[in-house]
């Protein structure tokens, strides 16, 4: 997957996790939590969906990498480049 594909996939996951939110104006360089009502259980859903959809394992020590769209895509690009 390309970084652009990964971004689309994360948006799709977010639309499931936060179905009441308008994601059209999401800023990639701003933390999700500053733009969306997401709590720790929601972040675990992102991790779970990556595991279920793509068998990508995000270790707990790396959860901080999922803070914003940009950091998430950067983190996942090497992990998902061959998917």
């Amino acid at each position: 997957m390309t970084p652009a594909d990964i971004r689309i996939e994360i948006l799709d996951i977010l639309s499931d996790i936060a179905p009441d939110e308008d994601l059209s104006g999401l800023k990639d360089d701003v933390a999700f939590r500053e733009q969306l009502e997401l709590d720790s259980m929601d972040f675990l859903d992102i991790v779970m969906e990556l595991r279920k959809r793509h068998r990508v394992q995000v270790p707990e020590a790396d959860y901080k990498e999922l803070a914003s769209m940009q950091s998430t895509v950067d983190y996942l690009t090497p992990l998902m480049k061959d998917l």
Binding site: P19, D20, D45, K52, Q57
Partner: protein, 418 residues
């Protein structure tokens, strides 16, 4: 407690119903349910569920998003959504100035037959797709399956900080929820009780499969004819979802705010068969009914309507009729009906929902029927059984509501017209 001698109670010990919110397979409000019951409208339809396949069920179509955000629905359980819808509607119906209600003095008492089966089955199904890798088992599983979940979701949604819990009481749970609410009001543990019962049971294949294995799951080519208590051709239970929550208040509080009062809880009883896992014991059921009458200071002849529990099983219906005959055998003016014949068995909601179906008889003087009785089973031929068509009986002052469950749990409530 309700005085055994039935001495007049002070208003701060008298418990009244001031609001009702419900969802049933044939109506999403008290008025809709009543209209369906008087019109003979069934809520049972064809239904298909994972593994078990095609069957029949009572399915609710309330709008969960009326009181919940999409995310809340996703996070929570169906039982939670049912509870929230019913509790919110009950508060709206009560006319309470909710924004100024002290939420720390509100208690939530939700009867459930079972809870957690739906979510556990969903997770097992999920991990099966991943060769039983438990790493894909959801972190939402525990908050969804804790036994207090349906009541806790109501608390979260309505920002209620008083006590909340569920009352696990098999199919006696709806009445048990009401009774618990009344007791807590009398003990001054809360000033407003949101009390009743909910069921999400149609979303677990296990309940269908288990009733089927027991030979107790109804089948019929016409879904609307499948739930047929007291009929010779009855062949089991139609599982239904549903919910009904009441706002209960002490009479002095209700009077002070000029509340509309649907009726007063003047008697109740719960007891236990202690004889079998599933087979009911008519002697204990009769004792439960008699105890509720005694506590209300009433003779059996004074009850206008008995809302029966009968579920459409061969033995269960006949056993309840033995119990009722022993208590009401000499009562010429008592009528009997059955709401499950319309909506199926809504499990944890049944007691609360079936009572609600009868409450407007205080206003319209009509006893809704038990439908689908083409050939009355002689074992179930109670003299006052209202068959197939509603009956106008004039003044209705007392309704007695039966609700019984597995492991021999029995519950009875008596509501008086206010």
């Amino acid at each position: 407690m309700i005085a055994p001698s039935a001495q007049p109670l002070p208003d701060n010990q008298r418990i009244v119903i001031t609001g009702i919110g419900l969802t049933a397979p044939n109506g999403n409000s008290l008025r809709e349910l009543r209209e369906s019951l008087l019109a003979g409208r069934s809520g049972v339809s064809k239904y298909e569920i994972r593994y078990f396949g095609e069957t029949l069920a009572g399915v609710c179509n309330f709008d969960a998003l009326r009181h919940q955000a999409k995310k809340e629905v996703r996070r929570g359980t169906r039982a939670g959504s049912v509870g929230i819808f019913c509790a919110q509607e009950a508060v709206l119906d009560s006319g309470l100035d909710w924004n100024n209600v002290d939420r720390s003095r509100v208690g939530i008492y939700v009867g459930v037959t079972e809870h957690g089966n739906v979510e556990t089955e969903n997770e097992i199904y999920q991990i099966k797709q991943f060769d039983y890798d438990t790493k894909v088992w959801s972190h939402h599983h525990n908050p969804r399956t804790v036994a207090n979940n349906p009541a806790g979701e109501v608390a979260l949604n309505m920002e209620i900080t008083g006590p909340h819990y569920t009352i696990g009481a098999a199919c006696a749970a709806g009445n048990a929820g009401l009774i618990q609410g009344a007791q807590m009001l009398r003990l001054n543990e809360c000033d407003l009780a949101l009390a009743g019962g909910v069921s999400e049971s149609i979303h677990t294949f296990g309940i269908f499969a288990s009733f089927s294995s027991q030979g107790a799951l109804a089948t019929h080519e016409d879904p609307t004819k499948a739930s047929r208590p007291f009929d010779t051709q009855r062949n089991g239970i139609v599982v239904a979802e549903g919910g009904c929550m009441y706002t209960l208040e002490r009479l002095d509080d209700a009077k002070a705010r000029g509340a509309k009062i649907y009726g007063e809880l003047v008697g109740y009883a719960m007891n236990t068969d202690a004889t079998d896992f599933v087979l009911p014991n008519p002697e204990r059921q009769a004792q439960c009914v008699a105890l509720a009458l005694q506590r209300a200071g009433l003779a059996a002849e004074e009850i206008d309507i008995v809302s029966t529990h009968a579920t459409g099983t061969g033995q269960g219906d006949a056993q309840e009729c033995i119990a009722l005959r022993s208590v009401f055998g000499q009562s010429a003016k008592t009528y009997f009906n059955n709401t499950k014949s319309f909506i199926g068995h809504s499990m944890g909601a049944a007691g609360a929902l079936e009572l609600a179906g009868n409450l407007l008889a205080f206003d319209d003087g009509v006893v809704h029927a038990t439908i689908n009785v083409d050939e009355l089973d002689a074992q179930c031929a109670l003299p006052g059984l209202v068959l197939n068509q509603p009956r106008e009986v004039g003044g209705v002052r007392y309704i007695l509501n039966n609700s019984f469950g597995m492991l021999g749990i029995n519950s009875v409530v008596i509501i008086k017209k206010y």
